[in-house]
Symmetry: C2
Subunit: 297 residues, 2 copies
Amino acid sequence: MTSFETFLETLAPRVDEVLDELLPAADRPPQRLHAALRYSVFAGGKRVRPSLVVMAGEAYGAKRETLLPGAAAMEMIHTFSLVHDDLPALDDDDLRRGRASLHKAYDEALAILAGDALLNLGLLCVARRPAAASLAVRARAMEMVAEAVGTDGMIGGQMADLEAEANWPENPQDALESIHRRKTGALLTASLRLGGVYAEVDESADRLLHQLGDGLGLLFQIGDDILDVVGNAEALGKTAGKDADSRKLTYPGLFGLEESRRRLAAVEEEALDLCAALPDQRALFESLIRYLGDRDH
Amino acid sequence: MTSFETFLETLAPRVDEVLDELLPAADRPPQRLHAALRYSVFAGGKRVRPSLVVMAGEAYGAKRETLLPGAAAMEMIHTFSLVHDDLPALDDDDLRRGRASLHKAYDEALAILAGDALLNLGLLCVARRPAAASLAVRARAMEMVAEAVGTDGMIGGQMADLEAEANWPENPQDALESIHRRKTGALLTASLRLGGVYAEVDESADRLLHQLGDGLGLLFQIGDDILDVVGNAEALGKTAGKDADSRKLTYPGLFGLEESRRRLAAVEEEALDLCAALPDQRALFESLIRYLGDRDH
């Protein structure tokens, strides 16, 4: 039985090799932009989203080599969202994964263009790779991922988050869950479903991966909110307490720390129950859920 | 014989109908973001890029209905580039097509997300539409367009433009042409080639459309540079003289106004010569070339 952390450690170097192949070489012009893409993509991310693609795909019988290009593409798209999110006009974060965020390391214009380039390249990779997949599989993959990124998904969640900050929502609890479901959950869910697309799963398996992804999104976000209260800048690699300061919707802010922990545990239980329906890799998925549910808090 | 201007006037309302169908409704949440997408897309653009898709496709026998979704998608992607280009960190333009640019009408965070959403939706539309096209055609379309957008294409050109502004290039004449070929030319070329993809043209026709697109890109940019010197804010709908002020590479700046006009005329002649090889719509293409070559200067 492999723990999720061991799985991540084993997989991450392979994902990085594929990212290295898919990203333009740093010495190709425009060099500064290409170097910036690599600065952001190789910033020490744990490769959680790529691992979800691989886990889900392998649970349904797909070969790892088939899964890796799409896995790498999800990391590019995730990185795009971080680069734009960190910009002064959005979250205005100077630190990302313990070092200067892209607009601080380079400049704002470059960070905007680099984010654009990562979104574009990520979608292109999903549409074009792997060569072994049928056109129908690649088309389904591209459409599903672009829908998850769009205004009904991640970008919509980011926008709703900004709006909630400007105008406190009438029903903050509903708003909180709806924002997290999209802002964080959409890409985690798309990663699991992408593995399913490569394994050519049926509708009921796709639904299961969707539900599991929703659960992971909530675990991730409730956990992050709690960590933001109890954590510190060193442990997080970003400025702690920031979300609370700027009057953002958070679980501890709305429900208090204890109730947030209770909700986290409930979501964890539900997600663990869903794993029973997986045809394979159940222990690995359970380990993933515990990993997200039991972070340092 | 239809002139290009008449063609544009006839086609634009139909393109706008398709854009209206493809864009999320303004009253769907997040409403402010969806309204912003429409603010930018329906800002009075002439729909030059969509018209190129339709002209090229029809020249090679494709049906107009097959061409319209991709045509609309190119306008979304063009609009994405304008929205991000206008941002304070990039060109810092307060006016676009005679009214407030998106970050002035709304705010900067929203303009960043709206640009992201338009790129994402544009690529999704090219991948998914038209339903009548084969998967192979849609895959080819999506890959060709994403390559034109990426760091070898439009985004690379924008980056090279910013770099040339910060550090005057060693060979400014080469840099100027290379920047324009990508920054403006890549999307015009992709529009013509996209029409060809839907018409399922052979390699030599694709090459012809590519060469024609390069010519249009140069005509467009040399013309814009000249207009920026001789024009005024009213005629352009943007702040005139701005490029010259900020020490950007321009044709008049490098070659003087008369030599720029001579080059424009030479590119116009070359482009007109290429039209002879088109199987149909020659007069319309010639009219387009004269339209770009003979703007108010």
